[in-house]
Symmetry: C2
Subunit: 440 residues, 2 copies
């Protein structure tokens, strides 16, 4: 569907849905299975009738795993997923980059639950491959406009009092392939440059207090130890606010592709400012205008000028169920689920539209609602084969409302790659299949 095709969904569709879901209460939700699966009756082979179960104290067969011994505790001292989950992996888009050592792989958001991304599935982005750094040899130097330049070992850094915070990281190119109308066929590729972990490290302001910033110090250059020596200029205000120097994620030391043994974390800011394999912080009086903040990671505006240092990942959201990878298989009740996030703080509200943005219904925020973290939202409703143009719209605690694609294009033109946070649309066909469409 091209972006200008007239969408078949209507106010009538919404009115019908509203009528159907009128009075949908907790009681209905408790009847989820009966009304949803059994009443629908269309789930061939997946539901046993109640009578069959009643006739026996055991499931219909004793599977092989109930009659044999499994492996013992010494065999996997570091555990791995089930072999039946081998399809749950990070994936890349081969045409995105010339080389896989300077590319990106994306998290399988359609298979993830809750708000924590397990370490094996956190999205990757790097420019010279993943280095294998020996933590004994790794150093972090802080120098430049400081009173007492210093070089830290990992042991030094890990002696400081630590903090642990659940924060998302998102590549500013997330969704960027769609800026000009390309339509990725799956959630993993439209939004998968996004992950969320519990990060542990030292507030950068503590380390900066150690070295003593000179009065003229206003910016910090962060540089990586990998072959790319990726670097970004960070304003001192951020560094003194909530930037962390991080060595652990989800309880264990950083994974190599996440910067082992040390990375920066700028909560809520574009992912590539959170320099991985961090080896150097230089304090200066102005930004450095290095490659990754000039030729890349800038926003080309309609007038041909490039907007630079657009650090914040603005409020965004996406529906993860249903989605292209998770089509609707049964009529009846369905939990619409998704993720919302804001680089400015907490998510305050998420609304859902079934008619491409004509009308909106508030969703529930599920579980923890933390600042600059993923927040999961949910709405239980009914689907009986009607077409949907399904959208989510997040609002954060500052009042920022996620824009439509039209609004975003009006403000930013058609030349951008980064910071595409517009409302996303899934088209649900009457057979339950879900496709990615763009509507103006």
């Amino acid at each position: 569907m091209s972006k200008n095709t007239k969408v078949p969904s209507t106010r009538e569709l919404m009115a019908q849905l509203a009528k159907e879901s009128e009075g949908l209460s907790i009681t209905d939700r408790r009847d989820f299975l009966r009304k949803g699966i059994l009443a629908a009756g269309g789930v061939a082979g997946t539901v046993f009738a109640s009578k069959a179960a009643a006739s026996s104290n055991l499931p219909p067969m004793e599977p092989t795993w109930g009659k044999m011994l499994g492996h013992g505790v010494v065999e996997y001292p570091y555990g791995q997923p089930s072999k039946y989950e081998s399809h749950v992996v990070r994936r890349t888009v081969p045409w995105l980059t010339a080389e896989s050592i300077s590319s990106i792989s994306m998290s399988p958001l359609h298979d993830l639950k809750g708000i924590i991304t397990p370490n094996g599935l956190v999205f990757e982005r790097y420019h010279a491959g993943v280095p294998q750094i020996d933590p004994e040899e790794h150093r972090l130097m802080i120098h430049g406009l400081v009173e007492r330049p210093i070089i830290f070992t990992m042991e030094d850094l890990m002696r400081f009092p630590s903090v642990s915070e659940i924060k998302f990281i998102e590549c500013p190119a997330n969704g960027g392939m769609e800026w000009k109308g390309a339509q990725m066929e799956a959630l993993q590729f439209t939004h998968g440059m996004l992950s969320c972990c519990e990060w542990t490290g030292v507030p950068l302001r503590v380390l900066l207090d150690e070295v003593g910033i000179k009065p003229e110090g206003k910016w910090i250059l962060a540089e990586g130890a990998d072959g790319a020596h990726m670097s970004r200029s960070i304003p001192l205000e951020k560094a003194l606010d909530d930037t962390l120097v991080v060595y652990a994620q989800n309880g264990e030391m950083l994974r190599p592709e996440q910067g082992y043994p040390l990375r920066l974390l700028n909560p809520g800011w574009e992912g590539n400012t959170s320099i991985k394999w961090l080896r150097r912080l230089e304090v200066g009086d102005k930004p450095w205008y290095h490659r990754e903040e000039t030729s890349k990671y800038t926003d080309l505006m309609p007038d041909g000028r490039a907007r630079k240092f657009s650090f914040v990942q603005e409020t965004n959201s996406v529906i993860t169920n249903p989605c292209p990878e998770n089509p609707i298989k049964n009529s009846g009740l369905i939990e619409i689920e998704g993720l919302a996030w804001s680089g400015r703080g907490r998510i305050k509200q998420v609304d859902i539209s079934f008619d491409g943005g004509v009308s909106w219904v508030p969703a529930n925020l599920k579980g923890l609602v933390l600042s600059k973290s993923l927040t999961r939202f949910s709405l239980v409703t009914k689907w009986n084969g009607q077409p949907w143009l399904l959208q989510s719209r997040a609002i954060d605690e500052t009042g920022y409302v996620q824009p439509t694609l039209k609004q975003l294009r009006e403000a930013r033109g058609g030349n951008s790659i980064y910071h595409k946070n517009s409302i996303h649309t899934w088209k649900v066909a009457n057979n339950g299949e879900v496709t990615n469409v763009q509507i103006s």
Copy 2:
């Protein structure tokens, strides 16, 4: 040190420490490095002097990883830890059990950060090894005193609205080897039957509403699909309160050793009630008195009678830094860190003693403080070679205070194995080495 040896620590020691740490302010903490590491000067080769750093814009050498390409995004679609972290693994105590297929492995608490346990390091306990269950063939039957017995497929269960909650799981035998005075040499073995994840699943009460409990239904038998068919009786009150039927942990599907594809989770209760590889829930009018709730997982009291169905993991805590695996390497400032948890709700307070419980100082609770979750506590203080008898004492929101070993023995006698939640003591020697001691 036997449990009756007179401990050398004294009130004087405490008085001295109080004097030393008097006026310890945020300013002191900001001087953590200078006062702690540089001033101490005893960390051979690990700290570069400031002048050395000032003399160059780069670290003293360019390591090999800065001059070569690493691996690309396609090589580890499911990520793994760094090769330099291969020592961070679950470990078992070989003499604990005759066979590794009916044994336990423990989480490396001394290496963990924050409150999330990464999935590869979650402790394991099972009785017939880890089965490899095909989720397509797995079923959950709910039957017994119900109106509409039913058999669910995984797809059925995953259609229900889900919840995600961060909860600890602890084996009731955690610390049990020490009940009679055996002293394990490391934190991993004294407390490592403990982990904490974000779990996702369906509240059991929702499924019970589907089947309709008959008025005489008061207990539920939960049974696993593994070769042991491990089973436990759960009171209906718990099942209707916060029990979950769980299929995911930390964002991804359960690991095989955690019950893939389905387990029960009884938040705050002894781990073995959270039946793994869950295949059957039977509603009855009384408990079943199966093997694992009679011959095992009961508490043998001083009068020779066995206390059964002691489900709750009472308030507990342990210091994770320093500990035997993390000795103190530097004099000066140190962050005392640890974990506290309660099966009854939130942790309200943790106190730390340096003198074996004679006097106490309140610690800070760090990060998220969630109900029936691990909570991390912290206290920044100074160590200058004085001996410590280091203890932590947790208090939960119900006012329950973690007991001393003496109090626990007075109440429970010396025959127990399970539910040892007494205050734990680390002896810190003047060379910084940490050993496990028991004091009455």
